[in-house]
Point group: C2
Chain length 664, copies 2
């Protein structure tokens, strides 16, 4: 496949021109866009709309204002720049490649293991801060700025934030206290591209008249065209003379590729913006490249210079593995996981979205709350079926959760949605507070677990079970397939009480998990998916159960017979069921789509110990230790030795050892 | 001791007068203040300043505007009122007593088991919402309001917030989205008493010009004198006709008792306000009562009515226990805990405050961050010694934590302070995000654990260990005494890396915990505090270690010899040390000042299991199951069977049973 790239030396050549700056930076911005589009296309995923809207700002900051280079990367007096929203990081990577701060090899490994994380991470040269969920950037920028002042080193701090991101209250905390803290050497730039994940900010939660509000917080505020060189130049020059400058930079989401620019794109797609995340298809990629290359050629002609050279970027060579599983096999050759998960079509979250609509029909008190992830969380059907019962809260998880508390106190049944990593963590105290009122609320923890691993550690959720585990009156369930998802949601709506957590994988299921014919969804009961007498392998969710079943197949070849059990109840255990189900088995392996701390394995350990039955079993708990790896599903699972090959290998070694002990 | 009280019928009499409303409500407000002062004095703790500033609003709302009664407590069409800050709940209790919604017995049991929680809790009749840490109220109010609209029931929603509380960003989230969510039937009243815990809001983090900002968020804003009947009357009447009314009610903190009113009080106490929390001494109590009773008499004369009758409230009879320990003993007779913890003078947190100053002298990169708990967290000495390294963040834990992230990225060593329940929970994702940057930050989790139990479940922290347990690169330590506190902080400052959590009890230590002569503070190593051969009792922190040692004494009398071990490392365990230390012992008892989920016991269980050594031991893990009890330390410990008497009783039964098994 043809993948167009512009090499570093071409950026050097254009940067070294001394001429009409406006044209020069427009050209550089388009060159960044070309490389951004290519890296995202190769990665198969990434945030184009946001990278394109801020490309002109990025070009100006990295090539003119910051003076960042390999020489001063760690110099405390350097200018600090980072993006709080983080979605636009592919554009930053393109600029850092152009500056020679990251290599071409790394640049072409976006969202791959050992390459560039899907969201900013400081292990990458030139990246100053990790973006978390949204709204942390101004606070962090204040930290950099305060430290520069205290350490009496020079340098200015620039933070780019999103407009949707501005719905997070933490921004307000940061702006308000900046005055009391006498923070002066900071400039906040809002990339005001008007569009959140796929709708207009004004459709989600309008920011209202910003200038007055920001001024009343003690900031000097200006509005500029964020895609215009002269405006950007003016605002950045102002930052030298004005303390706490807040720049509202009006931009177009998708700027630079006509059909990706939001007015056009949203008109074409029923008012929804389709290029926020994900990679474009082949045609769109080529169209985008063609449009930009034509314009680049034109700019060069206008500048009277040699045209910019384009080369063909080699795609990553799949025969060039960097991750090895427990057997020491390079993952690209690890048999079980050769087929990418994406090839599969089944999503538990689709079943969740359908079940919400079905249950909504029977239960008028069921209301759905969203924090601008309606599409990812599959809430759109409910949103359209019951608009009067759909509450859009914007990117403000804490407000959403506490609002649900009030709804529940009035007898409604709120179903609160966000990514597990954001909801369980950022709104943790609000969930605790609601639960302390003994009301009934359902929290849908989307994107639980390790996969997809491309977005990186800010999005992968490996702590969420532990974050609600000590909460009284809470029930945590993770379904394995669409049927079980419907059963779980129905149980939560019609039978459960208190804090109900429905943890779900957000990606496609690697394969369909088949539950037993007569399967009944009962608290504390799991289901045997595969019979076997040598040991039990316990897992939950489609990703880990797929690995478990594949591992069992691999072990079958070695005449080791695993009993594979699906355990959707993450903090409920019926001991009678357990003893019956584990009849004749002493070795139990639990694989976690979570940290081994505070997950299912520890819960079983605790329960078995409390019942004084732990001595009958030998429990092995394998989860995601340390920080989750960024990469393809294959890479991430293998890295954490949670792929079928690694699991089967580790189990076989333990059991062989045990057999040897028995025979000796 | 003389304790003045005004009975319900007197409130009825005054409420039923039809006359000059202004005088009538001024009188009722003072009557509320008298009963509030008495209930707080009897409780020995409570928030007077905040209850007094809002007393006029409370009197108007409960006696005129709301129409709340025993008849409509659960009627969905009732008017909803609650206080978001929650500190002023003693005043609300006084009003609810006057309305006959809570009984005199309950009213006089403020902060006692089976009485009234120190912060609002919905299990109490008439209380509509639990206050958590600050800033959740407007969001919850929106939930009530949205539900009323959806259910087509009438009624209005009134939420009182504090001015310091307004530093929390969640308020901003709630106000911003209220417009998009078309919330109309809500009125927010800011009790703008100008003072936070002990300093002026303007000294902590000024709110700046509020009116413009609030108006720009789509709210109708008015300013009133919140201690004036006519102004209050005007504003509440406006709420009928104006959607999303935001009332800035200017009040005096401590209003009604001249020496408690903030201008006077702060002038007298070096600019610090002394009546935010806690009970006044005997003289202050009497002075306050006398001043108010004189005024009440005067009002009655002006109104030409019979003077209000005052009675003497019996203090709670300590011979009237309501909590029973594991032996079935009423706690007031449970020998070990007869002396109230308050009698003791030693605080680990004092040592922490001193150590901060000492280490600050040696380490110029050490900076201290505060979220308006400088006094409680013992930061004042550092604040005065190194003002240039003390960063006041206001009541905004998320901003504080992320700002620390930026400071750490610049090479500084931030020490972040707040209550464990707020810091670990509300700022959980920010802590995760900082830690993912691999920087070194110390988080001081103050007020960890069950005691003091008077403030209630919003302040007691029984989940904080579990909330950081699954965080990579984190170390959690809870010191047992002042020496160990210094060692722990020094270790965190000079040797540790990553996320360092120093968990501390905030109250007085029940007794001095004596560490061994040659004690060395080493990762994963605990210390034997008392020798014994029958079983090991593991605990951490002064409160639980005190109970452990007292339990050991009680068991000694039964010839059961406990080995008592202090284990300050809550997520580090050196197995060699453990095996050596537990030589000859199989029964291990772990008592947690935390939920049994995600605490020290589960960590040991996990480590012993991973090392395949669990089968050598029998582990018993006892922690705070379910919701923490509100009451005196004695009551709370006994209720959760974590008092020495209960612990020793339960241990003796288990060991006896074991001995019987062995002998049979």
């Amino acid at each position: 496949m043809k993948r167009t790239l512009i090499e570093k030396q071409e950026f050097d050549r254009i940067r070294n021109l001394s001429m009409l700056e406006s044209l020069q930076y427009a050209l550089l911005a388009d060159m960044i866009r070309v490389n951004t589009l290519t890296s995202v296309k190769i990665a198969g995923s990434g945030h184009l709309g946001s990278s394109f809207s801020s490309a002109d700002l990025i070009a100006y900051l990295y090539f003119k204002a910051l003076g960042l280079s390999n020489e001063n990367l760690t110099d405390p007096s350097r200018n600090i720049f980072f993006s709080s929203k983080g979605h636009d990081v592919p554009g930053q990577y393109a600029a850092l490649y152009a500056l020679g701060i990251i290599s071409i090899d790394q640049f072409l490994r976006l969202r791959r293991f050992g390459g560039l994380d899907g969201h900013p991470d400081v292990h990458i040269s030139g990246i100053e801060a990790n973006s978390g969920s949204l709204g942390m950037g101004i606070s962090k920028g204040k930290g950099f700025a305060w430290a520069k002042n205290y350490l009496k080193v020079g340098g200015h701090v620039y933070v780019i934030i999103g407009d949707g991101e501005f719905q997070e209250g933490q921004n307000h905390e940061a702006l308000l206290s900046a005055v009391a803290q006498d923070i002066r050497n900071i400039t906040v730039i809002m990339d005001h591209n008007k569009v959140q994940s796929d709708k207009y900010v004004d459709e989600i939660v309008s920011l209202g008249p910003l200038k007055e509000r920001l001024a009343s917080l003690g900031w000097f505020v200006i509005s500029i065209d964020g895609n215009d060189f002269y405006d950007i130049d003016y605002s950045i020059k102002l930052s030298k003379s004005h303390h706490r400058l807040f720049v509202i930079a009006h931009t177009l989401k998708g700027k630079g590729v006509s059909f990706m620019e939001h007015p056009t794109a949203m008109a074409k797609h029923q008012g929804l913006y389709p290029y926020h995340a994900g990679a474009p298809d082949e045609d769109s990629y080529q169209q985008g490249i063609d449009e930009m290359t034509r314009r680049i050629v034109l700019y060069c002609r206008q500048l009277g210079i040699e045209p910019v050279q384009f080369i063909e970027a080699e795609e990553l060579n799949p025969q060039q593995p960097v991750v090895y599983n427990a057997l020491g096999e390079p993952v690209s050759q690890a048999s079980v996981l050769n087929q990418p998960l994406k090839a599969q079509a089944e999503y538990v979250v689709n079943a969740y979205g359908d079940a919400l609509v079905e249950l909504g029909a029977e239960h008028e008190r069921l209301v759905v709350l969203d924090a601008d992830l309606s599409s990812d969380c599959r809430l759109r059907k409910f949103e359209h079926a019951y608009p009067e019962r759909f509450i859009e809260c914007g990117i403000a998880e804490q407000d959403m959760v506490s609002m649900a508390g009030g709804l529940a106190r009035m007898g409604l049944l709120p179903v609160v949605n966000s990514f597990a990593g954001f909801l369980a963590s950022r709104a943790n105290e609000q969930i605790y507070n609601n639960t302390s009122e003994k009301t009934h609320i359902i929290y849908a923890f989307h994107y639980g677990g390790l996969i997809p691993a491309g977005p990186g550690k800010s999005h992968q959720s490996l702590r969420d079970i532990s974050l609600v585990g000590a909460l009284p009156d809470s029930t945590i369930v993770q379904p394995s397939n669409p049927d079980e998802t419907r059963m779980a949601l129905k149980y939560f709506v019609e039978q459960a009480k208190g804090c109900c957590v429905l943890r779900m994988n957000i990606g496609p299921s690697p394969s369909t998990i088949h539950l037993p014919e007569n399967y009944r969804f009962q608290p504390g009961h799991g289901a045997v998916l595969r019979q076997g007498s040598d040991a039990a392998l316990i897992a939950y969710g489609p990703v880990m159960l797929h690995e478990a079943l594949e591992a069992a197949k691999l072990l079958e070849e070695k005449a080791i017979h695993l009993r594979v059990i699906n355990m959707p109840w993450l903090n409920r255990l019926n001991l009678e069921w357990l003893e019956e189900t584990l009849e004749g088995i002493s070795q139990i392996f639990v694989i976690e789509d979570h940290s081994p701390v505070g997950g299912l394995g520890q819960f079983w350990l605790y329960q078995l110990n409390a019942a004084n039955k732990i001595h009958r079993y030998r429990l092995h708990i394998w989860g995601v230790d340390g920080w989750p790896a960024c990469g393809t599903p294959t890479e991430a699972l293998a890295y954490h030795q949670l792929d079928a090959a690694s699991i089967s290998y580790k189990i076989s070694r333990i059991l062989k050892h045990q057999f040897q002990l028995q025979s000796s």
